[in-house]
């Protein structure tokens, strides 16, 4: 399925949210002047903790809430004040909201019947949806007779049956257990890509956002902290909040000592950081240097050079199987985490509690956080 361009308008941006604000009860700003565009065929994730406004934004796109200010366009058409039942948008609800009194078949056919499609077409469409999510033999069951994973697939089939221009996913995997989540994640992306539908996804799970989405907006207190591709957000967080929210990270507080076009030197309590790229701003400025645990190398010998290493005592060892996380207590008392891959079965070369260890990293391993 592809979305036919309307007239001569090119649907590069399928969804456009323009300076949308939502205020509840006159005072509570749930969404604060947010703008975004989603290109046709893209999977876009709104990521944030509870109460960050991501669900409110999604509900405004679906039409369940009206923005206090701003406009929402779909394929160039202003849909800000269109009721949900007139929008060519379908949503897969958190914990699915499958109609408990209807069979799987009737749940999927519900939206098609509202469009008064001819009977044969409804039958054909429902059958194809059932085979898409591999539930053909469950057509006559009621939702409560299905497992969580099956319910999730029915919900997906129901939201795709009408061939919406835009599919909204509200915590699509939130109700599944961890093991099932991983397989379902890929399945979901495969189906979405097979159908070719544009997708806006809301989640609080950064892994879910990273694996599924082509772009992510990290939200907090009603606005976007950062918007970018998953690797942008992971490798180049623009603020402490984003860095903290996405994965594990060590942040060294420091003062900029030297700014050049090709490097920056930041001095922190435990070490000097030589950052291999330039930045704007003057020396003397307080910044954070963010460093991912997996980008640190742990050794027993003192590294050469004066930059990008520090030493400390191993205070905790957490074994995860594929990798081990060491907690290192630096001389200033600061704790950092270091992750090492267990790529050999013999663990005798590893560190034990109380060992002195040197941590080192490369020039390009760090991100400088100015806010």
């Amino acid at each position: 399925m592809s979305i036919a361009p309307k007239g001569n308008a090119v649907c590069e941006d399928l969804l456009r949210v323009e300076e949308v604000t939502k205020i509840y009860d006159g005072t509570i700003k749930a969404v604060d002047n947010v703008s975004l565009t989603v290109a046709s065929g893209e999977i876009f994730a709104l990521l944030g903790g509870s109460g960050c406004g991501k669900s409110t934004l999604l509900r405004m796109i679906a039409g369940f809430e009206a923005p206090t200010q701003g406009k929402i366009f779909l394929a160039g058409e202003d849909i800000t004040h269109l009721p949900p039942y007139q929008r060519p948008i379908n949503m897969m609800f958190q914990s699915y909201a499958l109609f408990p009194h209807l069979t799987v078949w009737d749940n999927i056919a519900f939206g098609l019947r509202r469009d008064h499609l001819p009977k044969e077409q409804i039958v054909a469409r429902v059958e194809s949806m059932l085979s898409l999510v591999q539930l053909s033999q469950y057509a006559n069951r009621k939702p409560h007779q299905l497992s969580g994973g099956q319910q999730q697939r029915v919900a997906l089939a129901r939201s795709l049956a009408k061939r919406p221009k835009l599919l909204l996913l509200d915590e699509p995997l939130g109700a599944l257990d961890k093991k099932l989540r991983e397989t379902t994640q890929l399945e979901l992306v495969n189906i979405i890509e097979e159908v070719g539908v544009t997708c806006v996804l809301v989640t609080h799970d950064q892994e879910e956002a990273m694996t599924m989405a082509s772009r992510i907006a990290v939200m907090s207190e009603g606005h976007f902290l950062q918007l970018g591709s998953p690797d942008d957000i992971y490798e180049m967080p623009n603020s402490r909040q984003v860095a903290d929210f996405i994965g594990n990270i060590n942040i060294f507080d420091g003062i900029v000592e030297e700014v050049e076009s090709d490097h920056v030197i930041v001095r922190s309590a435990d070490c000097s950081h030589y950052v291999g790229y330039g930045m704007s701003g003057n020396s003397g400025r307080a910044v954070g240097v963010a460093l991912r645990p997996e980008k640190i190398l742990l050794s027993k010998e003192k590294p050469a050079g004066k930059y990008n290493w520090c030493d400390g005592e191993v205070t905790e060892i957490v074994y995860f199987g594929a990798y081990t996380t060491y907690h290192l207590k630096l001389n200033s008392g600061k704790l950092i985490k270091v992750q090492t891959l267990n790529n050999a079965r013999d663990l005798s070369g590893n560190f034990s509690l109380g060992d002195r260890a040197f941590a080192q990293w490369s020039d390009l391993a760090m991100a400088v956080l100015t806010q």
Partner: protein, 317 residues
């Protein structure tokens, strides 16, 4: 290191579970006792009297008492069943008509209560959360006054020189008083007025639990509010509708006080026939037969309801 501590936790968990299940087993005697007390109550005060009524209905009326069912013949007990009361009821058009008109009034009461009660409960369940306790209290407020007094009050309102007629005549809307009292109209007013809360309460309980996400999902799939109501809200509130209908229909069918006070001589209802047989005609077997048939008439919708309920729970398991 971690594994061993997990193992210990599991072992402790197992012990705790074992203790809890033991404690539960010891409690089961107490549990049976708690369930048993109300059952014993019902047995003594409902089932036993009902069996006595059944027995009387199969006897004959003698001068001052009812004939005994078991007579002794040559040292052997003989069961003597007398179906004459039932035969008489089925052959007499008056009884059949009375049953039919009772059914009609009870059904009509149920339908009107549903028609008024459903939108009422719906908007009550949708109203602001802090208003709901007040609205609920207003529904129950009439129960603070005696049922009989309230029915008498309706009489005062509806009679020819009553409040309604006086007001309408004084503002010149009518010249002669409206004949409202002792008509099917006054009967229905009394019945609907009295039984409406019994429709509203279970419906409200049901509708206030309705998950609003289902309505959003329906809207999302293209159903307008009207369609959403018919296809989602109504089917999902079926249990509430049935419970409310039962609570209204069953007592309405056997209602005696309202037809007696508001219905007048033209509104036939089985409760009044029963009263007459017992207290005017003193024909206990006949009265009992009328009562037994009425109980059967009530048990029919109850059986349907129970079947529906067990089907529902069968689906859920």
């Amino acid at each position: 290191m971690e594994r061993s501590s997990d193992g210990r936790v599991d072992a402790v968990k197992g012990q705790v579970m074992h203790k809890i299940s033991n404690a539960l087993r010891n409690f089961s005697a107490g549990r049976h006792l708690l369930i048993g007390v109300p059952y014993l109550w019902f047995l003594l005060l409902a089932l036993v009297p009902l069996l006595i009524v059944l027995k009387i209905s199969l006897s004959e009326m003698e001068v001052t008492s009812v004939s005994s069912m078991i007579s002794w013949r040559q040292g052997w007990p003989t069961l003597k069943l007398n179906f004459s009361s039932y035969l008489f009821i089925s052959s007499d058009a008056l009884y059949v008509q009375t049953y039919l008109s009772s059914l009609k009034y009870a059904l009509l009461t149920t339908l009107i209560c549903l028609a008024i009660g459903y939108p009422f409960s719906y908007f009550m369940a949708r109203s602001a959360k802090h208003l709901q306790p007040t609205l609920l209290m207003l529904i129950m407020l009439p129960f603070w006054t005696s049922f009989l007094l309230r029915i008498y009050a309706w009489k005062m309102l509806l009679v020819n020189n009553g409040v309604i007629n006086n007001v309408l005549m004084s503002i010149g809307m009518i010249d002669a008083p409206l004949e409202m009292m002792n008509t099917p109209f006054s009967l229905m007013v009394g019945m609907v007025y009295s039984y409406l809360p019994f429709m509203i309460l279970p419906l409200y309980a049901n509708l206030s639990k309705l998950d609003l996400r289902y309505l959003e999902a329906a809207a999302d799939l293209g159903a307008n509010p009207f369609k959403t109501f018919w296809l989602i809200t109504v089917p999902l509130s079926k249990a509430g509708i049935i419970a409310g209908a039962m609570l209204v229909f069953i007592p309405a069918l056997g209602e005696y006080v309202i037809p007696e006070l508001l219905g007048g001589p033209n509104t036939l209802m089985i409760g009044r026939v029963l009263w007459d047989e017992f207290f005017s005609n003193n024909d206990w077997p006949m009265a009992s037969a009328v009562a037994v048939l009425m109980v059967l008439l009530i048990m029919l919708p109850m059986a349907i309801y129970n079947k529906y309920q067990s089907e529902q729970s069968g689906l859920n398991s």
